[in-house]
Every structure is written in structure tokens, then in C-alpha cells.
């Protein structure tokens, strides 16, 4: 078992990205991530979740001020994908938001992204301040 873990650890790939808080840059980044991840249902769901959290970081965290960055650190191997997404905003009460019920048909036009992320990832939480998100998902082929 130890050998298997060592092997997986060796294969760990790390990527670092800094995006400006611009709608088009944020959305075009989806294709970059999609190409990096292995072809699996878990990857698709992780890519979707990561996009939602990056949009939230740019929109709610950085208030779409282009000069403010969204900083993304991605780690992956054959067993899992993990990401940290940091913005330069004031943070938010993420624990409160996650307590709200997931109601896909709710009235609001917005606000589903964070709930979809919680549903799609194996682990999902923020730092205390709420301006750095952690996402983790096991890969099942």
C-alpha cells in the first residue's frame, strides 16, 4: 500500500494560474482545465465545480475588478484532483451559504454554483475568511 501511495505521489502534477477578473478570461479558462484533466465523469464534474468557484471568486470576491486576480493552484495524479482558488476580496460567510437547502428550481437566477460544487466534490470548504476555496475529488474511471 505504501508503495502504491509513493507511486501516486511521484506522479503528482502541479499547475499554477493567475487570472484577471474578466468574464471572457474566466470562461475561456474552462477549456484549459478541461484539457489538463483525465477523461472521466469525475473530471467533468470537477471541471464544472472549479469553474463555478472561479466565477464566484471573480464576481463576488473581486467584484469583477479586472486588476484583482483569481489565483488557482491545481494538483492531480491518477487518483485525485485538488484545487485551491484564492481571490482578493473580503470573503463571505460560506458556512451559512452551505447550510441553505439545495433547491435547483428556486426563484433566484443565481446562487446555484456553490451548491453544485458542494454536491459534485468529495471535499469542499473555504478558509475562515471565505476568500480561499479548497476542492477535492477522487477520480473514478
Amino acid at each position: 500500500m505504501a508503495n502504491k501511495n509513493d507511486e501516486a505521489h511521484k506522479q503528482l502534477k502541479r499547475y499554477h494560474f493567475e487570472l484577471e477578473s474578466k468574464k471572457l478570461d474566466i470562461c475561456e479558462f474552462q477549456a484549459v482545465i478541461y484539457k489538463l484533466l483525465p477523461n472521466s465523469v469525475s473530471s467533468d464534474i470537477f471541471a464544472m465545480a472549479l469553474h463555478e468557484i472561479i466565477v464566484n471568486a471573480a464576481e463576488h470576491g473581486n467584484q469583477m475588478q479586472a486588476e484583482k486576480k483569481v489565483i488557482i493552484d491545481l494538483k492531480l495524479n491518477s487518483q485525485f484532483i485538488a484545487a485551491e482558488v484564492k481571490d482578493q476580496g473580503a470573503g463571505f460567510d460560506w458556512q451559512q451559504r452551505l447550510k441553505e437547502n439545495f433547491d435547483i428550481s428556486g426563484d433566484s437566477e443565481r446562487g446555484r454554483g456553490i451548491m453544485m460544487t458542494a454536491r459534485g466534490c468529495d471535499k469542499f470548504y473555504y478558509n475562515q475568511r471565505g476568500n480561499k476555496a479548497y476542492l477535492f475529488k477522487k477520480i473514478n474511471f
Binding site: I26, C27, V41, D44, I45, E52, V55, I104, S105, R112
Partner: protein, 103 residues
């Protein structure tokens, strides 16, 4: 965002968006759907055969439009979902319980 609109008859219209529906262009889709809403179609079909991905921002527009149509006894139907990415997402959130998705 690019999309085509085919009028079937005075009650039904098919709208076919192309590419990604996301945070960068979902407002365009909303405007297009509201235009159809004002034209009083009872059935609006969204053909997804050329849609590659959709995010929660796009989904929010669909759900809002679905709700508005339902209020005047109209229906929204999603058809021809080809992308596995979109299929996985719709399945994860059980969208079929809210909006009719044709196989």
C-alpha cells in the same frame, strides 16, 4: 452568443444555441429567451445538439425562463443533449425533475 431560431408554428418555436453557455454570455441567452417570451409561444424547445457546456449562470436563465413560461401555462423542453459534460451535470442536479428533457 450565437443561436438559431426556427418557428414551428404560432405556438411553438425551437431555439438552438451554439457553443458554451456560461457567465460570459448567459445574459445574451436571457435576452433571446425573453424576446420569445414576449412573442407568446406556448412551447419553447431548446435544441442542445450544438451546446458544448453550460454553467450555473446559464442554468439560472433556463430556470427563470421555465418559471415565467409555466406561469402562463407554457412549457420549456430541452432536446438533443449530446455533450456528456452536460448530461453529467443535468443528472447531478436532477434537472429533469424541473424541466422536461427529451431523450
Amino acid at each position: 452568443m450565437e443561436s438559431r431560431t426556427n418557428i414551428v408554428d404560432s405556438d411553438e418555436v425551437v431555439i438552438s444555441p451554439v457553443g458554451n453557455i456560461d457567465f460570459s454570455n448567459s445574459q445574451d441567452l436571457k435576452d433571446q429567451l425573453l424576446e420569445l417570451f414576449e412573442q407568446d409561444y406556448q412551447k419553447v424547445v431548446m435544441d442542445f445538439s450544438e451546446v458544448e457546456s453550460i454553467d450555473s449562470s446559464g442554468l439560472g436563465k433556463l430556470l427563470l425562463f421555465h418559471k415565467k413560461l409555466k406561469e402562463k401555462e407554457g412549457t420549456l423542453v430541452i432536446r438533443n443533449v449530446e455533450s456528456d459534460y452536460i448530461k453529467n451535470m443535468f443528472e447531478m442536479i436532477h434537472l429533469n425533475k424541473v424541466i422536461e428533457i427529451e431523450d
